[in-house]
């Protein structure tokens, strides 16, 4: 059964660190309980605003550049996530439709499993990967 990550997009309120109302919290608690009761929930968390976060940029002359938040483009930021296990994308969509949001956006993406890599990870490649891991483990 595939896993899906549901990314909750940030909003002006989440970025300001405005806490949800008691009513909203209760609704969210109930929704999370529904996910748990259905055996669908694997994980779910809220993320602190980007003002307390950092970004790491890779490449460039210095190799790694760390920038403090907050970051603009609020709609592209992530405020929270769920990891759920569902039969297919349609089922994941039905579950996330039931989330107690009045506005905003959730993006759902399927998690790669080994077998999804298809041509890229042939049995020979997988074997080689396995041997490499064993070698690495011995060298640790």
């Amino acid at each position: 059964m595939p896993r899906f990550v549901a990314l909750v997009k940030a909003s002006a309120e989440s970025e300001e660190g405005v806490l949800p109302s008691t009513e909203n919290l209760e609704e969210m608690t109930r929704y999370n309980e529904e996910l748990v009761k259905a055996g669908v929930m694997l994980a779910g968390e809220g993320l602190q605003p980007s003002s307390d976060g950092v970004r790491i940029a890779y490449g460039g002359p210095s190799g790694r550049t760390v920038t403090d938040g907050p970051f603009a483009e609020t709609k592209e930021l992530v405020a929270g996530f769920w990891i759920i296990q569902a039969r297919d994308l349609a089922e994941a969509v039905e579950w996330l439709k039931r989330a107690p949001f009045q506005d905003g956006e959730v993006e759902i993406r399927q998690v790669f499993e080994d077998e999804d890599f298809g041509e890229a990870l042939t049995p020979e490649l997988r074997e080689a990967e396995q041997r490499l891991r064993e070698q690495a483990a011995k060298n640790r």
Binding site: V36, A90, Q130, R133
Partner: protein
Amino acid sequence: MTDVRAAIEAIWRIESPTVIAGVARLVGDVGLGEDFAQDALVAALEQWPRDGMPVNPGAWLMTTAKRRAIDHVRRSETQQRKYAEVATELEEHDDMPDPEDVRDDLLRLVFIACHPVLSPPARAALTLRLLGSLTTDEIARAFLVPEPTVAQRIVRAKRTLTEARAPFELPGPVERASRLGSVLEVIYLIFNEGYAATAGEHWTRPELCEDALRLGRVLAELMPRESEVHGLIALMELQASRLRARVRPGGEPVLLLDQDRAHWDRLLIGRGLRSLARAGALGPLGSYGLQAAIAACHARARTAEETDWVLITAIYDVLARVVPSPVVELNRAVAVSMSLGPAAGLEIVDALRDDPALKDYHLLPSVRGDLLTKLGRTEEARQEFARAAAMTRNERERALLEARAAALE
């Protein structure tokens, strides 16, 4: 159009156990319950694309199914009194079903699907069908049997339940423990079909583990105060965490101590450890909880060398008292050999050599051979590996054991 159909089918998979349970309790029969629920699905497939999706699809399906049930009951003359009851129920609970009632109905469905009057394969098929929302075809592919076999199995199971007049009720306090044991056994049977299977189409088998895990998680929310329910989930989560590392790309099984732990799923390990803590908080661990505790020892060790064999041995000592069996004793011997040395383990294994229950169990000579090797008794070890190789029916294992024997020549 196909999007709408996919959405309806997804909603059906989410809602059908609740709908089946609600109607089954109304008419007192799980077969009829499923029939009326299916009628509601057919109606949804006809009406929703035309009229739009209802605001509360679950409630729509439940109301439609119950109305079908009323029509059926009304038409049956001998059921007049039942008709009055059913009609009243529908009026009173049309809008907001009590979550407690919904929970109880689902539990009733769990217990009836796992009824001991049914054979274990029948229970597994019925459970996957009614609670897992799997199609007959999916169940057939999961168990590697033909679809008509599964279809027949389910039909006969429902008939057996009707003929046995198995009540659609929660078991009373006297039989509750044994009935719950039956439920846990079914879920673990489904899990093991997926976990121990290295034959068949490679990646469809972990799906079975996940089906069992979902069923177990649902049950944990229905019976949150039962320690062994959380114990079983803990065991399954921890074992499932090792699924990717268990099999080489070529299909050969990898022993636990040889597995690449970077491939162990830490999300599942975390969940398994939390479930184990819940089980422990509810009272002394039972058989599943203790097995989970042993699995947790492996999960917590970052490398095989860091395994806490002393703790594992201690848990096996308790498990051997709770579920005494020669197989548990053999496993205990392995743990003892790792914590106290091969000689101590060999003592226990030697005491099992004449146990008739183990006379065809190839792991007994295999373990004995391993311990003898460690004690430098190479000729005796070689003989044991040769014996074990002759006893196993698994080609890969036979090759492995023959190689171990040959290495000692």
